[in-house]
Subunit: 165 residues, 2 copies
Amino acid sequence: MAAAPKGAAVALGRPSGDPTTNSGDNSAMNWLDEVKWDAQGLVPVIAQEATSRDVLMFAWMNREALQKTAELGRAVYFSRSRGKLWFKGEESGHVQTVHEIRIDCDNDVVLLQVSQLGHEPATPGSPSQSIACHTGRHSCFFSVYKDGAWKITEPVLKDPDSIYK
Amino acid sequence: MAAAPKGAAVALGRPSGDPTTNSGDNSAMNWLDEVKWDAQGLVPVIAQEATSRDVLMFAWMNREALQKTAELGRAVYFSRSRGKLWFKGEESGHVQTVHEIRIDCDNDVVLLQVSQLGHEPATPGSPSQSIACHTGRHSCFFSVYKDGAWKITEPVLKDPDSIYK
């Protein structure tokens, strides 16, 4: 598993009433209570690349995943298929450093601003070459509707077989 | 209800085997069958402003909503609270013209590129002043996590009472 990027947690800010540096709910963590978790205890999450502003992917978090995301400054999702926490990049190395966490007007959708590690980092002014998608593409949203069909429009940047050993 | 913007449907492209200009499933519409609808027959949808690239909102579509979005070139969602189609902007006039419809690698999340009408349209190079949110703010994602709390960081651009008469 790739190391958690240091420092980002400081940028996000730790709960001021929480002197600990690791996990554990307490009364200062009631920002988590304000989230409207669905019947499965999950909230939908959009990950947007901070530099390119491309929407990279969509996933889900449970309470623990959101708490760890804020603590570690890296994206931690909840895998519905595997039924457990998914530290994004734990296999691929394609970690997402989290710069900002937003929530919507209904408190039931989260938006992350991230740096997507892996392949080549995004550079302002040119198309991003980072890889968020398990297919080896930059973004998971690589299919566009046209003339009554979905057409793949984005290239595979890296063979998935070489990403997931 | 605001008029549907003309022309956008042409840009998205009609199913080539479908000579009709309005609704009605047929064999050419199997792009809708490729969507992995959830147990409620819905798919999550992200709306991103094409010019500013801001993520404006998150909503849901059923099959009919997605079909109408493609046909009309404007965002049509499914309101889970009201249990019916929601022609975005039908009350507020804040219509979303749809330029592009994407689907993700799992065929279970939709991403729209939109122009958000209402208030002042977005202009490149300056913060967008369009209004997508029912609170009268530009984006629904106006609360940022900081120091263990959600903080509202975006201004109300227009009093909601004057939007929803």
